[in-house]
């Protein structure tokens, strides 16, 4: 008898069918990966098992846990199962913990509730469990509050809560998506150990094929509410029996057309780069940036936090420079400084031969038309109140003279065309587009003034793999056709590899390593770079390892 066996699960909310046909089994001690695009119904499947579906959702079909029908169980019975026999870990470590209760209380609570243990006994077990997930009581006393922990540490607490009673089944819904790669690797290791230790079944939900392939004994591919195929991961992904699986797998390792060979070592140098070798487009020298800290008291001076420390690099016209590093290492700060949206504490930035630092906003205007930005968040980077035409044309105000109304419209149409969208889209509002389309609009806005440099801060991180592939294509294409140079910020090494000529590896505000992309990523020299590369999931390697 399987530990968990889902047959023909259907879930609908109102008129919408969220899950259409989900079949899945998990055996004791087995790690089953559940993959699929955003919105394919992965989380809903997990919540159905927990019977924690949102208000108004109706589930049918069958979910058997150790032979017991969960869909028919009463709320009291479910309460007995949850936390005791089935544990669950959620995606967002930042918000998954109650901010007003100590971590000790939160771990012990489930223990006390299910076992009726006394306070001290429960705390004892909580302490052991926290120790087990790598939060030893000596350094992380039970009286800590969640806000006193980092994201990775919080996720460990969430895992401790879920595993405190040694459940038979652990459901982990994107347990590492919000974490950086190094932390992700640590958490995944932890989960693997815990499952092996107690012969715990683990249902691991992720959109990252590489992660799932590394971790699972079996994977299930989901698409719009259906499980398309299940099987041994390497086989499923290499055979790609289902067209969707194929699409997914290809997109995950996608490298844009024409970039594969574009390493400067082997020919085909972008056109403009060849000419203007003499002067760098962007040059950053000894850049340092401090954020003011909180004042400890009214009279003491505020201590500051150094986010960038003596950073220097050059970027030549038409080239693509990657900036990689762990979360919080200062990547976005650097981007803001380069775009003169913030003033550095010290150091100089030169753009097209002119000093950017220390200039007034008015003096910056001529430079601004030559540097634009594309952000991570395709939703947040557009004012929802304006139409596309107005949004995309916004930087045109930088041109001198400012183009006429008709001219602007023409330029917008052209920019839209360049990113593969229709002129009609001008009259729509941002919310009428999908995430990928919105990212295209964002790029259209960035290129409308024909800039020499585009800074892309995690510009593809929030996109689904298939959409990500298209956007990467677009970037590569624009680089080729318009000669735009990129400062490409990403935490995803696959992306960096796919699109950049050179990379900078940052660590705690400093440049740890710098060089041609392939060279650095294949053969990292610094400790920081080595850690990063080691932790980064890589689908091809994972499959290869599996197939051995």
């Amino acid at each position: 008898m399987s530990l968990l066996s889902i047959n023909g699960l259907r879930v609908s909310i109102g008129a919408a069918d969220i899950l259409k046909k989900v079949d899945l089994t998990v055996e004791p001690g087995e790690v089953v990966g559940l993959v699929g695009e955003s919105g394919s119904g992965k989380s809903m499947t997990a919540l159905s098992i927990m019977r924690l579906l949102p208000h108004g959702a109706r589930a049918s079909g069958s979910v058997l846990f150790e032979g017991k029908e969960l869909l028919a169980a009463s709320e009291t019975e479910m309460c007995r199962l949850r936390g005791d026999d089935i544990g669950m870990v959620f995606q967002e470590p930042m918000t998954a913990l109650n901010p007003v209760k100590t971590i000790g209380e939160q771990v012990a609570e489930g223990v006390r509730w299910h076992t009726g243990a006394g306070r001290s006994e429960a705390e004892d077990r909580a302490r052991k469990m926290l120790d087990r997930v790598g939060l030893p009581a000596a350094r992380f006393p039970l009286s800590r509050y969640p806000h006193q922990l980092s994201g990775g540490q919080r996720q460990r607490v969430v895992i401790a809560i879920a595993c405190a009673l040694k459940p038979k089944l652990l459901i982990a819904d994107e347990p590492t998506t919000a974490l950086d790669v190094v932390l992700q690797a640590q958490i995944l290791d932890l989960l693997r150990e815990l499952s092996a230790e107690n012969r715990m079944g683990l249902l691991l939900i992720s959109h990252d094929l590489a992660v799932v392939t590394e971790m699972s004994t079996r994977i299930a591919v989901m698409h719009s509410g259906e499980v398309l195929e299940t099987g041994e991961p390497a086989r499923v992904l290499s055979e790609q029996r289902h067209p969707y699986t194929r699409q997914l797998a290809l997109a995950s390792v996608y490298v844009p057309e024409g970039r594969r060979l574009s390493s400067p070592l082997e020919g085909e140098v972008p056109p403009e780069a060849a000419e203007g070798v003499a002067s760098a487009l962007l040059s950053v020298e000894n850049l340092t940036h401090d954020y003011p800290g909180q004042r400890a008291s009214l009279f003491s001076k505020a201590s500051s936090f150094r986010a960038l420390d003596d950073v220097s690099f050059n970027l030549e016209a038409g080239r693509s420079l990657g900036l990689v590093g762990r979360s919080g290492c200062g990547k976005s700060t650097l981007a803001r400084l380069v775009l003169a949206l913030d003033t550095p504490t010290s150091g100089t930035i030169r753009f097209m031969g002119e000093t950017v630092t220390g200039r007034k906003e008015a003096e910056l205007r001529p430079l601004r038309r030559n540097m634009q930005i594309v952000f991570q968040d395709p939703y947040g980077s557009f004012d929802p109140r304006h139409r596309v035409e107005r949004l995309v044309s916004e930087p045109l105000a930088l041109l001198d003279p400012v183009p006429s109304h008709e001219k602007r419209r023409e330029l917008v149409a052209e920019a839209l065309h360049q990113v593969g969208m229709k002129p009609d889209d001008m009259r729509k509002y941002p919310h009428e587009f999908s995430g990928g389309q919105r990212q295209r609009l964002s790029i259209a806005r960035a290129i409308i003034t024909r800039p020499k440099l585009v800074v892309a801060d995690e510009a593809v991180s929030s996109l689904d793999v298939s959409i990500r592939a298209q956007i990467l294509d677009l970037f590569a294409d624009l680089n080729r056709r318009l000669g735009i140079a990129y400062l490409f910020i990403t935490h995803d090494l696959t992306v960096a590899r796919a699109i950049t000529d050179e990379v900078l590896v940052m660590h705690e505000g400093r440049i740890a390593e710098q060089g041609p992309t392939a060279a650095v990523l294949d053969n990292p020299q610094s400790q920081a770079a080595r850690e990063l590369v080691a932790a980064a999931p890589d689908l091809r390697k994972a499959i290869a390892r599996r197939l051995q």
């Binding site: 949206l341 004012d383 949004l391």
Partner: protein, 287 residues
């Protein structure tokens, strides 16, 4: 900051609002009251400035559907004209609050530093005076009257709107589209006008209906203690004040204006509720 916290576009907001029961009910009530006030400009069953003392305190009848007051005035006519007064006072007071408070709040959010601090301290000072207290002091200086009631209530509205605008603006400023606008060379003033204001407008509108309802209650309170609209202009609060000594003889004199206040405030609150639900789809889905 969730992306869903601000809906996309006003049309969308309206569509969601009209799906809400409380919004529609509130709208119907509010519209009815507003209509009543409008009609009173052209027509009331009786002239409320003409006192017919012989007809004093008549119970409701066909001739006077809601009876007459101690001066023989028709209560229905007075309630109609009173609506005008309540709405005018509350509306202008909200206008003052918005007109001064929103720019202040936006300035504080845009500039930060000492300007922010100054606005917040100003808020503290105004907030430190309970509204009725400042109303009493203002009317003590300038004499009671609708205009002074408006000023008193309006002043108290300033920090309310300044706070809401500031909080709203502070939430918008770190958004990426603002950074994009700055990268496009936009200054703080034009960002505030082009991006911040449209994004906090609905929020301000919702706060507006809430303050509107509070304003009507405040006006009633002021009139009740004799500091609001002055005779011969009828007002609901005054009618209640006059009625209270006659509660046992003719309770209807107290009941009708009281109900008028309750219904109007209720209508506005329902409207505001429905609107804020529509504003925050996260909440709306959960109701």
């Amino acid at each position: 900051m969730t992306h869903t916290a601000t809906p996309h576009g006003f049309a969308d907001f309206l569509a969601r609002a009209f799906a809400s029961r409380s919004f529609v009910l509130g709208l119907v009530i509010t519209a009815a009251i507003a209509l009543m006030a409008l009609v009173s400009f052209f027509w009331t069953p009786y002239d409320v400035t003409k006192l017919v003392v012989q007809n004093r305190m008549l119970p409701p009848s066909w001739v006077h559907p809601l009876g007459t007051d101690q001066f023989g005035r028709d209560v229905l006519s007075m309630i109609m004209v009173g609506a005008r007064n309540s709405i005018a006072v509350a509306l202008v007071a909200v206008g003052i609050g918005m007109g001064v408070g929103v720019p202040l709040g936006c300035l504080a959010a845009a500039r930060g530093g000492w300007q922010d601090e100054a606005v917040m301290r100003f808020n503290d000072v105004v907030f430190a005076f309970p509204a009725l207290l400042s109303a009493i002091m203002i009317t003590a200086v300038f004499g009671p009257g609708a205009v002074n009631a408006i000023i008193a209530i309006g002043i108290f509205n300033i920090p309310v709107f300044a706070r809401v605008a500031r909080a709203g603006a502070l939430a918008i400023w770190p958004r990426e589209f603002i950074l994009a606008a700055r990268a496009a060379g936009k200054g703080k003033a034009s960002i505030t006008i082009e991006h911040i204001l449209p994004n906090i407008a609905t929020m301000l509108l919702v706060q507006g209906t809430i303050q509107f309802a509070l304003g009507i209650l405040a006006e009633a309170g002021l009139s009740y203690v004799g500091l609001g609209a002055q005779p011969p202009m009828p007002s609901w609060g005054r009618m209640l004040f006059d009625a209270q000594t006659r509660m046992m003889v003719m309770p209807t004199l107290a009941i009708f204006p009281g109900l008028a206040i309750v219904i109007t405030v209720l209508g506005l609150n329902l409207l505001g509720d429905g609107a804020s639900d529509a504003l925050d789809p996260k909440l709306a889905g959960r109701r």
